[in-house]
């Protein structure tokens, strides 16, 4: 019984992290759904580089969307050294960023959108000939190949950037995306299926340069937590949960960035192309929660292609699904908690009143 209680308490604390991790809805506390990044894509197409950033998960509601407070930013580092000799890191991240603390915004692409998803403002810093960059924004099918997001849309920003806009001979790109409201950073994306994992939620509001020290710090504290629970018979099941959901893995010590190099064929983890089966590929290297959920929520066999064919021409993403009502947002638990606290308080008062009454009556009899 005691064991059950301990496990139940641990589930209460830890499982939300695991479940939230599954819905490519990071950060977990989704304060601003319109700032929630759902995907970053970067791949070559002829003499162009195609860059796509998607936001707003599970979109089916019609416009307008109140997008004007947010800015959507893609950062590119074109100078930092990337190595490809560590097969583990190459398979997971596309390469190794030698000095993550030294990452810089050599290129900064910023979008602000009108509430109808048209461009309100766009700036390209660090790219030559920016007027040659083709831009498309609007709602499109969510290209993430995962049952929960089939028949759902996202808000997309698509760019076709001439290779000539980058420095001549550029071979390696390190890129990441962020969203902001005023000065506040709300979300981060780098490599797919990374910052939405429960153990990485803290990355979503951290500058990319600060991520590796933060990961090492979390590694220390969570290892301590794991060791604490793992030393007692009754709490060992909790240690198992901590390990699965929270513990930082030995292969996690890398900044959350996307690496693309034209030394290798394109496709995840070397950049990301639209048809890439992120769920399957990331599971090959240890992160399988999305694959499990794809089987739980989807049909057999697991679907490994998108639910709508991609276009052959710009903007490449599939046409959007028709508008439909969205599920109402989840309720807050606080009214329920307050109601129970009030009930408990009333019961305590009644119990004390009864005790006092009995005590007084006994004194009267004496």
């Amino acid at each position: 019984m005691k064991k059950l209680v301990i496990v139940a308490l641990a589930l209460l604390v830890l499982l939300p992290a695991a479940m939230q991790a599954s819905d490519h809805a990071d950060p977990m506390t989704l304060k601003e759904p319109l700032s929630n990044i759902t995907g970053l894509f970067f791949f070559p197409k002829g003499d162009q580089m195609i860059l796509i950033m998607n936001v707003r998960r599970a979109l089916t509601a019609p416009k307008p969307y109140q997008l004007s407070p947010f800015s959507y930013v893609v950062h590119m580092d074109l100078h930092s050294k990337v190595t490809y000799d560590d097969p583990d890191f190459k398979a997971r991240y596309g390469g190794t960023v030698v000095n993550p603390s030294g990452l810089k915004d050599d290129v900064l692409i910023t979008f602000r959108l009108n509430d109808d998803t048209t461009v309100k403002e766009k700036t390209f810093v660090g790219l030559t000939n920016p007027e040659a960059i083709q831009v498309w924004t609007g709602t499109r099918d969510d290209p993430f190949i995962f049952p929960r997001f089939f028949k759902k849309n996202v808000i997309s920003m698509v760019m076709s950037i001439p290779l000539t806009s980058f420095p001549a001979g550029q071979q390696d790109w390190i890129l990441w995306g962020t969203t902001h409201k005023g000065d506040e950073m709300l979300d981060h994306v780098g490599r797919s299926n990374r910052s939405q994992l429960g153990r990485f939620d803290f990355l979503n509001t951290l500058k990319v340069q600060d991520q590796v020290p933060a990961i090492l710090d979390r590694m220390k504290s969570r290892d301590k937590l794991y060791n604490f629970f793992n030393q007692y018979k009754q709490t060992q099941p909790i240690a198992g949960l901590v390990q699965y959901v929270w513990q930082i893995r030995k292969y996690d010590i890398a900044p959350d960035v996307m690496i693309y190099s034209n030394r290798f064929p394109p496709g995840f983890p070397n950049g990301r192309q639209l048809p890439d089966d992120i769920v399957g590929i990331t599971c090959l290297y240890g992160d399988c929660i999305l694959q499990e959920l794809a089987y739980v929520e989807g049909k057999f066999p697991r679907q490994t292609v998108n639910d709508k064919p991609f276009l052959d021409t710009f903007p490449y993403l599939a046409e959007p699904w028709p508008d439909s009502p969205e599920k109402p947002p989840l309720k807050s638990i606080w009214p329920l908690v307050i109601m129970w606290l009030v009930i408990i308080l009333i019961l305590i008062v009644i119990e004390n009143w009864i005790v006092v009454k009995i005590f007084c009556r006994r004194r009267q009899y004496r």
């Binding site: 050294k81 030698v98 000095n99 993550p100 603390s101 030294g102 590796v212 020290p213 090492l216 710090d217 590694m219 220390k220 290892d223 301590k224 794991y226 060791n227 793992n230 513990q247 930082i248 893995r249 030995k250 010590i253 890398a254």
Partner: protein, 267 residues
């Protein structure tokens, strides 16, 4: 010139190495600033070691000191490498590992052989005097390992004692100096005379040298080759009463990559 009792290089055969060698093997001895360094712990011989996974209950101190700042090394329980840190790169970094004690029992002949190999003949004499030489030994042992990683410049930390119970302390930063290696062995912070110190070359572990520390704990080696070297020494003292053991050994090691002088490279 400090007192050095014996500095003559002695070529030792492979047989003299005891399987208890313990050393730190980082992913690189020359980390680039900002890069992540993994820290492997190894136990074995001839520089071929089995990986020692991180076991938090066995660790008393596992730190890196960079530019004067000491921080604990992050890691994941039960895995190899035992830890990771982000290299600062400004100056020579020192990794230090101090284990808790473990107990081992050994047959008398085996124990005596091991004492000889580690240059602990004084313990053999004491056991004989106490009439313990025919009894199995019960010994507490612990590790005091260090490694030096290069930075842009040398650091005073490289030549300072870190407070390990038994410690090999270089007198100059051997990651930048091509001069003969001069160091001291310190037991509980004090120079230990008469300790056998052995140096082993990673590229060819048959190349090794031995020296006894002088009255001031000093010893020296003129490395014939550049490359990664392991310097090691064992100190043995009476075990604390009530510990259930008669002896307590402390295993000190220091790993680093010695830069090559023109002469060394020629060799």
């Amino acid at each position: 010139m400090r007192q050095i009792a014996l500095t003559a290089a002695v070529v030792l055969t492979a047989a003299v190495l005891h399987a208890h060698d313990f050393w730190i093997e980082p992913s690189t001895f020359h980390p680039e600033p900002g890069s992540t360094v993994s820290v492997g712990l190894r136990v074995g011989q001839d520089f071929v070691g089995d990986a020692v996974p991180r076991v938090s209950t066995a660790i008393e101190r596992f730190v890196v000191i960079q530019h004067g700042d000491e921080e604990s090394i992050a890691g994941m329980e039960g895995t190899d490498p035992a830890g990771w840190f982000q290299a600062d790169g400004r100056s020579t970094a020192v990794i230090a590992y101090r284990s808790r004690t473990s107990l081992v029992e050994m047959a008398p002949a085996k124990f005596e052989e091991y004492l000889r190999l580690q240059g602990l003949e004084n313990v053999i004499k004491i056991r004989m005097k106490r009439g313990e030489h025919l009894k199995p030994s019960r010994e507490l042992f612990s590790r005091c390992a260090k490694a030096l990683l290069t930075g842009k410049q040398t650091s005073p930390t490289a030549t300072q004692p870190l407070g390990l119970r038994y410690e090999i302390v270089p007198s100059h930063d051997p990651t930048v100096s091509t001069a003969p290696f001069v160091g001291r062995v310190l037991y509980e912070g004090r120079p230990l005379p008469g300790a056998l110190v052995i140096a082993v070359w990673q590229s060819n572990p048959a190349v090794r040298m031995g020296a006894r520390s002088g009255r001031d704990g000093a010893f020296s080696f003129a490395f014939p080759h550049a490359g990664v070297w392991l310097i090691k020494s064992v100190q043995m003292v009476d075990a604390p009463s009530g510990s259930g053991a008669e002896w307590e050994s402390l295993w000190a090691s220091l790993t680093f990559e010695a830069p090559g002088s023109a002469a060394m490279k020629h060799n």
